[in-house]
Symmetry: C2
């Protein structure tokens, strides 16, 4: 099933069930008002939501209404936890190479992860508010899962069993702030403003065979100002699958239901072509593009995003239909 | 007023109002069931809670019951955000000196801060569950505030106005995991298990004159296995006050109501005594103690906490009475 949260003026919005084709929706009234409620008591509530979903998909829901992604908050508008991994090693290699720093050996055996802010997550069509272009405004096209309760010390397999829902994410990054913030060695606060999520969150069964080994074997499409910049394969190059990311996060503490875990920027390695390294699948963030330019020509020429820029992220199923709906955001100047 | 959250088997517990002397309590039923609800709508709900508080303190509350800190969850058992500063520079200087790394100049002008996990915060008397002593189990005695909604780009003064409640915190740290985790430059995940908070959260007026310039001018007392190890002055040595910490966190994003911001380990600089550097006020975490030993004698001799160890943190008002109640935790081995 597919779930979304409708803007209603409240902090947590209103939970709705959305049809598979994202054409229609139905309130979950009487079952659960908010997605967090459903996650808190999933085994009891999910089957009831599934009934609504079945009715919607069969065209027999009595109070269905047209689904409008622009009216969506993030599926979880405020979450108790947002942990973002960096599971595509090519992203790490590129960004590090451009910064002239090596990739430590351990990054190949242990997931990289940062703790993000989760109190104010953005809807798929919400503006990206930034006060200065000089911060180096970048996008990051990612996948993310929402978990059940996860006990401390789980195995990757057990971690995988805790995956309840999947989403797309745009993990907005302020590169020039990050460059200085990582020097504190305490992680990212100012460099990571609010993250945006796809209109709907879907249960793993909606992905069919494409959900395998804790990875989504589909193409993540990223467009920047209408130009397709990334057609990245989210499958095999994900070094650590979602169960491994969850197990990493739960090594020294339990994770509570509603924890969001991200994949990091989806990224595929380059290939040698005519004596030159090329990345035919494009990029999932501008930092990667700039790294490619630096490696190819010695200098980055692509600038970060400007006010007014648009960013679009989407993933289609094997049937060619959109799975999560479209993240479609505009960068807008914030003035206090 | 003083607020607490009683264990009732639910994820968020039950909001109660506690008398100034922590002797009695009263359910906030009919006003707000959970502290987050009160924070979401503070201007409407706080005056009603204040009425209950007044009745309690005047001994005219009709359904008062004895207050038991052992029955408390964290005042916010799961929060949408937990950001911990490192506002006492002496802590940073000590820990860095022991690790033979310099304190960058910027640390004196810009607050250090990390994003912590907030999905599973511990009550004041909850066990500290750790799977291995080899992780280097440490405590950190801190102050923390809970904020109202904070717009992006606020000034420190505006940040200070957003302080709704104050608490004590034990920011448990796994030193040997942190040592390796900071090398990722993405911050702390495994090195920071669940943080514990004092039984009650109090409004700033409960501190009287001791709450000044965004700082708490009182002594934070820390005992480890019954031995007083820290009598640290939380006031003047706090380089960045809570308004400055909040403004730092809100530079590139707004903070939503219920955000918890910590001070970092409360720590006072050493003094030269008989030709030797001494820290007469003691320490707020073992890492500091080990740094002091290293600076004095070339090697750390104090070990980190063992299973069965107890840790106690308290702060008394100028009248000698406990302000927040006592954090009193035991380290217990976790087995999955």
């Amino acid at each position: 099933m597919k779930l979304a949260t409708l803007k209603d003026g409240s902090r947590d919005g209103q939970l709705i069930v959305v049809s598979r084709d994202l054409g229609t929706a139905h309130f979950a009234t009487g079952i659960a008002g908010r997605l967090q409620q459903a996650l808190d008591d999933w085994n009891f509530i999910a089957p009831q939501l599934q009934d609504v979903s079945d009715a919607l998909n069969q065209g027999r829901a009595r109070h269905a209404f047209p689904f409008d992604p622009a009216q969506c908050m993030a599926p979880l508008p405020r979450a108790y936890q947002w942990l973002d991994g960096s599971a595509y090693l090519n992203h790490v290699e590129l960004v590090r190479a451009a910064g002239r720093s090596d990739v430590p050996e351990r990054f190949y055996t242990e997931p990289l992860m940062y703790q993000g802010g989760s109190d104010d997550l953005l809807g798929a069509c919400d503006d990206i508010l930034v006060s200065a272009e000089a911060f180096g405004i970048d996008f990051e096209a990612e996948l993310a899962v929402i978990t059940a309760d996860v006990p401390m010390g789980v195995t990757p397999d057990q971690g995988l069993d805790a995956v309840r829902l999947l989403m797309l994410a745009n993990d907005v990054s302020l590169r020039h702030l990050i460059a200085s913030e990582v020097e504190t060695r305490l992680g990212l606060v100012q460099g990571k403003p609010s993250t945006a999520f796809s209109p709907v969150a879907v249960t793993p069964d909606e992905l069919g065979d494409a959900w395998q080994d804790g990875r989504v074997h589909l193409t993540l499409q990223t467009s920047w100002n209408g130009r397709k910049v990334g057609m990245c394969d989210a499958g095999p190059d994900m070094r650590f699958h979602f169960g491994e990311l969850i197990a990493h996060a739960a090594r020294t503490r339990r994770l509570r239901a509603g924890t969001i875990v991200g994949s990091g920027t989806v990224s595929n390695p380059g290939v040698e072509q005519n004596g030159r390294r090329e990345w035919p699948k494009g990029y999932g963030c501008i930092a990667e593009r700039r790294a490619m330019e630096t490696l190819q020509d010695g200098a980055a020429t692509t600038d970060y995003m400007k006010f007014g820029d648009r960013l679009r992220i989407e993933m289609k199923g094997r049937d060619g239909h959109t799975l999560f709906g479209v993240i479609d955001q505009k960068v807008v100047q914030y003035t206090p």
